[in-house]
């Protein structure tokens, strides 16, 4: 491995614009040099921002660092650039698996076209289906059998997909009457990380969480997680339809992109994003746990007031997140 890294480093030094940064970053990742791997991958992406494989490599590095949110962002970017990218589907399937969303993981992995089905995808799909089959209908706790002793990792083939999934101990926890949260294991061969438990808040109350902090019916607030899923708040459009989930999905990754832009510019942490549209003003700010807070107000509302609203709603969101975390 050191020889391979040295050779690839030399190649990259000779031609910094070459694509050799991808195998080099991946080799560094597999050697456990995650910080160096991250630097190499980011520098390469600066030059080649539209290479799905490069985003895939960066995602793997983030995943190995335990940062599933960023890993997910990068795999999503890879899929935007190449919607049939099997490794990105595999990666996102693993993220969903790790978060206990077995159905989504199964859907995603089985959607990979047969021609693109690598052995890694097939093995992961088999494992997810096995875990799904082991989940009881009544939500009782279950340990997915995986044999005793050292786990047998499902390893995607090298060099394209060296990520491994090791079902060390797949436990489906139960919280009646809320749906069970799966604390699944998704590990690399080097580490085993637990998934933090997250309580299931009352959905009707979370939709109204910010109502008292807003001043009128033309104002809305949403708390969106790093994956573009609604955590709290609501947004009802002019026709009375709740479009919160659509808005949240469109805003997935805003926080990480804003952060990356500011990092490139050396302007410090981003504090707010203000969008003026024909009929509304939309203000966003980073919230705890990698989430994003979004406030919208009609165009009549002074911009300064929207920023004050944002601060007020952020205080409410912080308080709520502390209580539910």
């Amino acid at each position: 491995m050191p020889d391979e890294i040295r050779r690839l480093s030399d190649d990259l030094a000779r031609d910094p614009s070459s694509l050799v940064f991808m195998p080099l970053a991946d080799a560094l990742r597999r050697a456990g040099q995650l910080d160096v791997a991250l630097r190499v991958a980011l520098r390469g992406l600066d030059r080649h921002p539209y290479l799905p494989d490069a985003h895939d490599v960066l995602a793997r590095i983030h995943a190995d660092r335990g940062d599933l949110e960023r890993a997910s962002d990068e795999w999503e970017m890879a899929l935007r650039l190449d919607p049939s990218h099997p490794q990105a589907n595999l990666g996102l399937g693993f993220v969903e698996f790790r978060r206990g969303d077995l159905e989504s993981a199964e859907r995603r992995l089985s959607a990979v076209p047969p021609a693109e089905q690598t052995p890694g995808v097939a093995a992961a799909l088999a494992h997810v289906r096995s875990a799904l089959g082991a989940r009881p209908a009544n939500g009782a706790a279950v340990v997915v059998p995986n044999g005793s002793g050292p786990a047998e990792p499902i390893v995607a083939p090298e060099p394209t997909a060296p990520i491994a999934i090791a079902p060390v101990e797949t436990v489906v926890a139960v919280q009646t009457p809320a749906p069970p949260l799966a604390a699944s294991a998704w590990t690399t061969p080097r580490s085993t990380r637990a998934v933090p438990e997250f309580p299931s808040p009352d959905p009707t109350r979370t939709k109204q969480l910010f109502d008292s902090a807003l001043d009128g019916s033309d104002q809305h607030a949403l708390l969106v997680d790093g994956d573009g899923l609604v955590l709290a708040g609501a947004y009802v459009d002019g026709s009375g339809k709740d479009v919160a989930e659509v808005i949240a999905a469109e805003l997935a990754g805003v926080s990480s992109e804003a952060e990356r832009a500011m990092r490139h510019l050396g302007l410090g942490a981003w504090t707010s994003l203000l969008v003026e549209a024909d009929d509304a003003i939309v203000a966003m700010t980073p919230a705890p746990n990698g989430s994003l807070l979004v406030v919208t107000a009609s165009r009549k509302t002074p911009v300064g007031l929207v920023r004050l609203l944002l601060d007020r709603v952020l205080a409410r969101a912080r308080d709520w997140l502390v209580r539910v975390s």
Partner: protein, 116 residues
């Protein structure tokens, strides 16, 4: 060397106090069409990210029924990024904290109308 139709506009924006760079970027693919930036600014990477942010804001505003995005302002501790778009093109300015954002906003929104 041929000047693009945006060279004069970008030069005008870059002369503002606290502006370290400005560029015209294609929202669709994130590629900078023309730029006027100080040495050391990662124009290509920032252009791609600004275009992506603009696209996300446009799509979210579309979903929310907020109409067309006219201006975007990303604030950070020591400065920020301003963007005004028209069709596929986005005019982006990188500014330090000392920049007059109000003035830049007016000029960028006026200039954005002349894009495309």
């Amino acid at each position: 060397m041929t000047k693009t139709p945006y060279a004069e506009l970008l030069g005008m924006l870059s002369r503002h106090r606290g502006v370290v760079g400005s560029f015209v970027v294609s929202e669709r693919d994130g590629l900078a069409v023309d730029s006027n930036v100080q040495i050391g600014v990662h124009a290509e990477a920032v252009a791609a990210l600004a275009a992506s942010l603009h696209r996300k804001a446009r799509l979210a505003c579309g979903a929310a029924g907020c109409g067309v995005v006219t201006f975007l302002r990303l604030d950070a501790e020591k400065g920020g990024v301003l963007a005004a778009g028209r069709d596929d093109l986005v005019l982006v300015t990188i500014s330090e904290a000392r920049a007059n954002v109000g003035l830049l906003r007016v000029e960028m929104m006026r200039a954005a109308k002349a894009l495309a």
